[in-house]
Every structure is written in structure tokens, then in C-alpha cells.
Amino acid sequence: MEVLGSRDILNLDRALGLYRVLDEDGNPVAGEPSLPDKLLLDMYTYMIRARILDGWLLKLQRMGRVALHAPNKGQEASAVGATLALKREDWLFPSYRELGALLVRGMTEEEILDRALTTIDDPLKGSDFAIYGHRKYNIVPAPVPVANQIPHAVGAALAAKIMGDKIVTMTFFGDGSTSRGDFHAGLNFAGVFKAPVVFVNQNNQWAISVPLKRQTAAPTIAVKGIAYGVPGIRVDGNDVIAVYTVAREAVERARSGEGPTLIEAVTYRLGPHTTADDPTRYRGEEEVKEWERREPLRRMRRYLISRGLLTEEEDKALWSEWEKRIEETVVKVLEKPPLPPEVILEDVYEEPPWNLKEQMKELRESIRLLKELGIELE
């Protein structure tokens, strides 16, 4: 039976299939992608920067300088590919595993490290770990409880529509998030109001120790969009060109008033959930090895070399350039002073009410007393 006007939305092939531009070894599966050389090289460079920065954040956590880090390794292509489809005025609602997306939006390594190390220049003033963002880049810092940001992205998109702004919002979330109420409510509202939003699900197969099959009995995550009247597209999340291609289509669709899209980027978390996790407790090495072969940087590098856009030497130079630049930034940021204690009582309200003024006095007096008693709180 034909359901009127629903053909596009009910496109099961795209929700159940897997869109790819490159195969696992970086060979084009259906002809050369027609994208500018610079864009292809940018994609690769952003992924390199995200990979190096991720390694540093892990190291800094092990040194006790960062409270907690959620490693990105293996998921760079989804974050970079999807956000490259956005315009500067568009808004991003990330989760906590998208360093590449932050870099694409223009955030610098220094700003990210200031945040992670909660230096005096931390733009979020020491509020929480593993979250990043900045108003000047239209990146709304994520809440740590997963999926909370999904309806926010829908609301911002709807607001833009109401206010007549031609902008698009994009939000990232993991496979575990799709089990939460926020996902349901967000997709439902987006479908009903045709909100200009792009949902990017980073399906990395594991929500801490819980595998995808314990998260949903649906054959794919993309197919969930259909029941909300939101087209679902499943894409190889380790193929940066493929992610970019479907994201660009979804962004254009949203901007032209046709409504939301759910993209399922199939990827894999090569590291632990966070630095507090031990994945050897719940998954085998074989599986990790298999996905290491499919990781996104290797694939893109091979493609760029085969297309003649990059030589082995240039590749090495690119890596060492960014390794050097990021290391210099780390050294610089490590020397910055910490945030003063008073920040913990700021930004609760626009103006502090009387109770917080009283408590500021208590805080200062307690700091004086600790000094007097010679007590150092570890």
C-alpha cells in the first residue's frame, strides 16, 4: 500500500544499508569522489589534529592534570566529516567525544586544553570535565548526562525557524543515548515541527560495557528515524568522505525547509569509554584489532596517496608539524595558573542572591583558617 508523500521518509534501503565512498583500504567503491583537493586534505588534517590532541588528553589524565578524558580514537571521521558540512552560523550541540568537531568549528587546541586543564583561561570556568564548547563558535557545551542535548538541538532549530534565520543545528550522541527518553522526545518533536536539525548518531558499538544488541532490537539505529517521520541514513562512520557527503545532503535538506535527518555513523570506540574504564573486562582483543584495521586515518591516508594528493614524506611532515605545534601548546598551557577558588560561587545566577554572598564570606574565611592551621586539603 502506498502511503502518500512518505516515500522519501520511508526509504528503508538508506536506513538499513551502509553508504560508503571508500572501502576499508581507501579504494573508491564507486568512482572518484568529486570533492575539491583542499577539502580532502583538510579532512585528513583535522583528523590528525584530533588524534594527536586525544593522545595528549589521555597522557595528561594519566599525569593527574586532567580529571577525566573520554578517548576519541577511531571516531575522528564522524566528527570531522559531519561538521565540515556546516556553515559558520550554524549551531553545534556536541556530546563528549567529538574533538574533531570542535576543531572544525574553529576552536583551537589551546582553548580545548585550557578547558581540560581548568586553567585560568578555561572558558567554562572549571564547571565540569570532558565537555567543551564556546559561544563564539556556536558550540553549546554538552551536558554529561547523555542524550540531554538532543531536544536542545531541536529547540534551537525550531527557534531559528520561528525567527526566520536560515541556520541548521547539528547534534552528536552515541548508541546508548538512543535508549533514553530525550532521544524519543527530540526526534518526535523534530519530525512534527520539521525542525532544521541534523541528528548524528555515533554508533561506536559500545555504551561502556553494553553492546549495541543490548541497546536496541532494531536492525539499525537509522531505521528508528522512520517511525518519527525523520529519514534515517546509515553511513560508514570511519569513511570521512562518506560522512561528509550524507551530512551535506542532510544539512541542505534542513536549510531548505524539508526538516530533520537522522544519520547513523557506524564507527568503533578503539579506546576505553573514559579514562576510568577498563574495556578488557567486557570485550575481546580480536574485535578491537578488526576495527583497528578499519580506522579512519589509515583509510584516508591511503586514498590521498593513491589519488596523488599526498606523498609519504608529506604525510610524515604533516604529522610532525602538528605533533610539534600541539606539544608546544601543551607546554604553554601547563604553565598557566589555576582558576581562583571564588569561581565556584560564580555564575549560579546573573547576580548572586544573598545566600551566595554569605557563602562567599564563608569560603574566604575558611581559606584563611586553613592557612592559619597549616592544613592543605589534597
Binding site: G126, V144, P145, D182, V210, L339, I344, E362, I367, L369
Partner: protein
Amino acid sequence: MPVMNMVQALNQALREEMARDPRVVVLGEDVGRRGGVFLVTEGLIDEFGEMRVIDTPLSEMGIIGVAIGMALYGLRPVAEIQFIDFVYEAFDQIVSNMAKIRYRTGGMYSVPMVLRSPCCGGIRGGMHHSQSPEAYFMHTAGLITVMPSTPYDAKGLLKASIRSNDPVIFLEPKSIYRTIKEEVPDRDYTVPLGKARLVREGNDVTIVTWGAMVYQSLEAAKLVEEKHGWSVEVIDLRTLFPYDKDAIIESLEKTERLVIVHEAPKTAGPGAEIAAYIAENHIELLRGPIARVTGFDTPFPLVHEKLYMPNIARIYMALKKVMQY
């Protein structure tokens, strides 16, 4: 007697209750293969299988809603919320159902379940891994709220909670999960709900506290004894509602001074209830004002958390205030 930390004691409580009563099941995120992110449920899946130790999809609303249904049907579910900071998605289920089903059905149905969850600060957990939201639960009629401070109490209180016919919110202060060790009997025992524990005897001032703040209070008690010769009594409330008012009154009859110490923020916090109850009913016992030492009225900060939480200096300031009134 074996020496255990709180994680081991809780694990043993669950193991013993599951062996004793086939109606006891455990469900939550990562509680199976992973053994819970703090390993409280470690090994249970091997012993009791996947039907009784259930790794759930990631939804607190689902975990609590489903546990309520299980309890209605006759099981005794112990539902884990990975961090209490994530419980809010399940708030409708807790407030509208878990707490109200007995009342709504005129006592026909009850929800004998335990919601257990790591709580509180002190591990650099930031604002969504450090909260002390006990006041929300104390304020919700129909719930029992518990927070142990020692491995012995943790085991005995969890067993009593599982056997309770009313729903229990069981909050576990994660900063002392592994730092406090003591002898814990390898056998079945319970610690009664609703009873406080006298931690330290004293004559001049009473500190009422719970969770990890018991240890901060003890440090401050030692400090003022050395510095001023003041003798501080410390009471660990253990059950936050229904709290042991008699234990507080009995202590105040002796000391006539009250300081309340908790990690939760001050305004409309759990200390406000205790202070109001004493002021309403037993003001004649007091020589001067009640003092509260609490987390500040802000979200829990990632930076400077030891200054945000009650610490030895802030408890000292409060003791000084009530002693020198």
C-alpha cells in the same frame, strides 16, 4: 572476621540476599559483565545468571519503571543507577509511582524495591558525578532514604533495605567506597532502618552528619578537642528518612548545642529539616543557634571541590560559633 571495604561489603550483601531469596534481582547499566563501574555487582552474573543480573539499555527511566513493574508482580529488584546524578530521567517514575503506589492503591500494592546508587563528591567527578540529592527523596512521602558510612553498616543496611516492604533509596558515598576498611561479619545480619549510630561520645556539642562527612566531622572534633578542650559528640544518621529524632534529642539533652554537617547544598537541604524539627519541638534544649556546614548553594564544581564540600576548617568555624555564642 574478614576485613572489607564498602564495595566488598555491598557485594556480599547482594550475593547473600540473592542466595537467600530467589525474588531478588539486580538490574542496571553495566551491572553484569562489567560488574558495575565501581564493581559493586562484580561476579554476580556468574553466580546467578543473566535472568537475575540484568544489563539494561541506557535509560534510567526504563530501569526504574521496569523495576517498579517487577516489584508489583512479586520480585525484589535492586536497581542500580550508575551515578545518582543520572537519576533525574527516572524522577517521574520515582516520585509519581515508586513513592505513591502504596497510597494510590489504598495499600493494595506496594513497591518493595531498592534503588541503589553511588553519590556525593570527593573524587574530582565534576557536576554530574558528585551530587548529594538526598533532600529530593526525603521530601517525597513514601520513600525511605539511606546512606551508610562504613562497610559494616553498608552490608547490614542494604540487606535491611532489600527486605523492606517499602521502596528504599540507598545512597553510597563513593569517595569512601575503598578508603575505609573494617571487619565485616561473613554471615547474615541486618542494621535496622531508622536508627542512627553514635560514632563519638562527647559532652559539649553534637554534630549530626552522615556519609563521608562523618570522617570530616571526626577530624574537626579531634582538632577542637586539642585546641580548645571541647568535647564533641558525633552522630551518623545512617537513615535520612525516617531519621532517628530520638538519638538527636538524647544527645542534645547532654550537649545543648547542635551542628549539622552534610555535603548537599544548604538551602532547603536535609539539614534544614532537622534544624526545623529541633527548633519546633525542643528549643528548650538549646543554648544557642543551630549551625549548618554544607555544600555551597551552587552546582557541584569540578575545581576546588575540597573547598566546596564541608572541610575541617568550615566545621571548625561552625563549632566555634556555637561554642562561643
